[in-house]
């Protein structure tokens, strides 16, 4: 199996106790703005939500933990706006300097950002057009109670490729607990900007290897797209 991305934390040990604190909400106004900008951008279909999620996954694990939750939102917002040809890093840098009121417009404020030559606007990518009615080409392959096995899905390049089958849930036996609606396969949106409608299911995973204390009375139900599943004997 490929190494899980920094986001794929299910079943990983070492995070310690859960810190249940009174909510801070937003710690700064810019965090609130980032959320608003993200939702507005998604509504305006500047890039698909699946790619918004996927881009964060390319972060080096060390960078991922050093950045706060909303810093990661800002990171992926900017990366997606740039990669989908909406804005360029250069114009963001320039605008930042203008706002900061710096007199020297040529001064870049971001350490290590690419030089101007790398900032030519990329070809504007076509948006994944989500059809108004979601229909899968064939009827559901599985039904409630069916025994299935989840696939092992290798991600070669985090950020450019993506899956929504968590690492802990890969290569496991399960039972269809629920048939869910048709949904577009995120893996295809991220990799090739294709909207591939598939039947989805809630799969109750079996096996005590998921449970640290082998609790036979606990199980995890994970949502899976049909292409994540194979029939089990």
């Amino acid at each position: 199996m490929s190494v899980p991305g920094p986001h794929d934390v299910g079943g990983r040990g070492g995070y310690g106790p859960i810190l249940i604190e009174p909510d801070d909400g937003f710690r700064a106004e810019w965090e609130r703005k980032v959320v608003g900008l993200t939702y507005s951008s998604l509504e305006a279909e500047l890039f698909p939500a699946d790619r918004w999620r996927a881009r964060q996954e390319e972060l080096h694990p060390l960078a991922y933990v050093r950045m706060s939750y909303y810093e990661r939102w800002l990171y992926t917002l900017e990366r997606n706006l740039v990669l989908h040809g909406v804005l360029t890093e250069q114009e963001i840098d320039v605008r930042l300097q203008e706002i900061a009121g710096a007199s020297d417009a040529g001064c870049s404020s971001s350490d290590g950002s690419p030089d101007g030559s790398a900032n030519a606007a990329p070809e504007r990518l076509p948006r994944a057009i989500r059809p108004p009615v979601l229909e899968a080409p064939l009827p559901p392959r599985f039904a409630f109670g069916d025994h299935v096995r989840t696939r092992v899905i290798a991600i070669e390049q985090l950020g450019d490729e993506h899956t929504r089958l968590p690492h802990y849930a890969q290569g496991k036996l399960g039972i269809i607990a629920r048939v869910l609606p048709v949904q577009g396969l995120p893996d295809a949106v991220v990799k090739c900007m294709e909207f591939r409608p598939e039947h989805t299911y809630s799969v109750q995973l079996l096996g005590s290897d998921l449970s640290v204390d082998g609790d036979p009375n606990a199980s995890v139900c994970v949502d899976a797209w049909e292409s994540y599943l194979e029939p089990a004997e």
Partner: protein
């Protein structure tokens, strides 16, 4: 590399626990974040995390016992520990470190000027 990160951030209790809020690591300033990053990057490559941790505990105890200890800063202790370990292993020299601190101080003051509307802060 992800495993070194996991091991380091798993340290959630005791004197060496990194400051956290709402389940996330908190850095009061960018240098703290960089200090954290440096140690994790070096852990497993240059020294063991367990060794750094043990040194950090000693460093914290030393600070607590000192007469002229200023305000508590977790990452200042972290950085002191890192410096001491690197110097002890001969990876950097104390003299070069001092010279570099002066250089960087000048550069950063210069950068600060540009970002804050031409006024020195």
């Amino acid at each position: 590399m992800s495993y070194a990160t996991d091991r380091v951030i798993a340290d959630v209790t005791g004197p060496t626990a990194m400051p956290r809020k709402n389940g996330e690591l908190v850095f009061g300033a960018p240098w703290e974040s960089r200090a954290f990053g440096m140690v994790v990057a070096l852990a497993d490559e240059v020294f063991e995390w367990a060794e750094f941790r043990a040194e950090l505990i000693s460093e914290i105890a030393r600070w607590e016992a000192a007469d002229d200890a200023g305000e508590w800063s977790y990452y200042e202790r972290w950085l002191s520990t890192l410096e001491a370990m690197l110097i002890r292993r001969g990876l950097i020299s104390r003299v070069r470190l001092r010279a570099r601190i002066v250089e960087v101080g000048d550069t950063q003051a210069h950068e600060h000027v540009h970002l804050h509307s031409g006024r020195k802060s």
